[in-house]
Amino acid sequence: MTEPLTIGFLPLVDACLPILAHEHGFAEEEGLALTFQRDVSWATVLDRLLYGHTDAAHLIAPLAIATTLGRGRPAQPLAAPFVLGLNGNAITLTPELAAKVAEPGRLGDPVAVGAALAQEARARKAAGKRLHLGVVHRYSSHNYMLRYWLAASGIRPDDDVEIVTVAPPFVADAMQTGEIDGACVGEPWNSAAVARGVGVIVLATAQIWRRGVEKVLAFRAPVLEARRPAAEALIRALRKAGSHFVDPANWETNAAILARPEYVNADPALILGAISDRLVLVQGAEPVDYPDFMFQHREAANFPWVSQAEWLYTQLVRWDHLAFSPEDAAAAARVFRPDVYRSALTGTGDLLPGASSKVEGSLARPTAVTAQQGSMILANNTFFDGRSFDPDDIEGYIESFG
């Protein structure tokens, strides 16, 4: 007997794991029958999750935290037992702006590009025409990564530039009409702007935080409890899908599946670029290879580290201008559920980290860490400015930003 599960998603390449778990029969092997609900705004993905149209959703990680803390609407606890991927976003600027602050055709050094952008931002502000930068949502990793980079580059995100919300499929339009000068968005929407000649990719978010948490698989907390066996079966199916997804032999097949109208509905060539870490940065140029642009599987990438949830909480406090609250920090931490992840995969032979939290950004080189059986290697996970986040001192970290 198969158990039905409905999963909400936004048309983005990083909705890949649930889609491929379904298309390649991994979900069925685990006794699940998946159906999908495609939507075009995060507000609707969230509404459908909260009002039971979907059982689980592909969700921007900060939105899961914000919903749990009641930001903008009454609090509803969400639970994320699986991280759908790390990074996979990029910063794309209009060709004019890119020519001023970066070297179009190569991914720049985030420090140098940031410094050049700071000059330009100040000039534009002085001229009364602040730079407009698009993000997909206030509570998105795109917003937090962009702001982290801007602030560390000496640009005050709320004063020196204007950060506006743009739906991913319209980023290219907004750049063409001059509504925005740049954006931080997921694939294939950077590449779509490049293909139209209205944008130039200057940085990958993986250059800002080498292992930045991106989308999660979110449930309402009571639903996760009520449907625990199905949720755990889904986690196993998603791990299998991940192993299929990262195998170069399957890239073309998977790009063609994801490109279909019922999923991402985009050019398969652009999707192939993202999943193979090969991006065309400027219209007409050869693709540039940037390893781990998207990171969906290796090094237990899907493990919901509690420290990741806590890092997101620090950025929510920072950019919503809130005071640190130990209760909120604890509630945010509880959104990520390594216990469920472990329970689902124990006995499958999959690598399970021994700890549930780590100092984020502390590894400058591949390092062996303790796993439940033996050890596993975690690679460089640094922030571009060299800071690290110790979850034992959340308040101190927030204060360090001034």
Binding site: V40, Y51, G72, R138, F170
Partner: protein, 206 residues
């Protein structure tokens, strides 16, 4: 009360507008354009904003409301928890509502109920339409297939007439039909039809 309906489907927006027009003291504004949406909302200064769930501008609109909360006329999501059933019903119908803070629930409810009814009515209309379209398309496909088959039979008949009457081979007969079709700017099937009709008039036939 000023109500803004944000919907890229002009038909549905009109259906909702008609429904809400029954409510006294309502001024209704329909916004179907994505471009300039926020500046239109700002001009209108609505008490209530209704937007369909499939609208790609929802996140943009919510961000605007989040920012507007620090302004003089804050707009909240319609999230009075006592009205959770109403919200659930509206989400089921495919519409979300945003309401100016402080607007009394008894003023919102009848309006939202009407909007929900109209959304459901539109959804029914659409599924009826889709069904009718499906049936029509099916019949067209069959008709087309039938037509193709009939055409091929006519062409075969015409070829046989030419082969018998002029003693030419099959490819030659076909080439002749095609030449005539091209020179007279008609389809081969039409020429074939003419050949067969002429043959029948001349007392031929099979």
């Amino acid at each position: 009360m000023r109500i803004a309906i944000v919907d890229e489907s002009a038909t549905r927006a009109t259906i909702i507008e008609e429904g809400l027009a029954q409510i006294p003291d309502c001024e209704i504004f329909v916004l179907t354009e994505r471009h300039g949406l926020l500046s239109r909302i700002e001009e209108i200064g609505p008490d209530i904003v209704l937007i369909d769930l499939g609208n790609p501008s929802r996140d943009v609109l919510e961000e605007y409301f989040a920012v507007s909360r620090v302004l003089a006329r804050p707009i909240a999501m319609f999230v009075d928890e006592s009205d959770d059933d109403a919200i659930a019903a509206s989400i089921d119908a495919g519409v979300s509502a945003y309401v100016v803070d402080g607007l009394a629930a008894h003023r919102i409810r009848p309006l939202l109920d009407l909007a929900i009814k109209r959304f459901h009515a539109f959804a029914r209309l659409q599924s009826d339409l889709a069904e009718a379209k499906g049936k029509l398309a099916e019949r067209e496909t069959i008709d087309k297939a039938k037509g193709k088959l009939a055409e091929r039979e006519t062409i075969d008949k015409a070829k046989r007439i030419l082969m018998q009457g002029k003693g030419v081979s099959e490819p030659e007969a076909y080439a002749e039909l095609r030449r005539k079709a091209m020179s007279s700017n008609r389809r081969i099937a039409e020429i074939a039809e003419a050949v067969v009709t002429a043959h029948e008039l001349m007392g031929g036939g099979e």
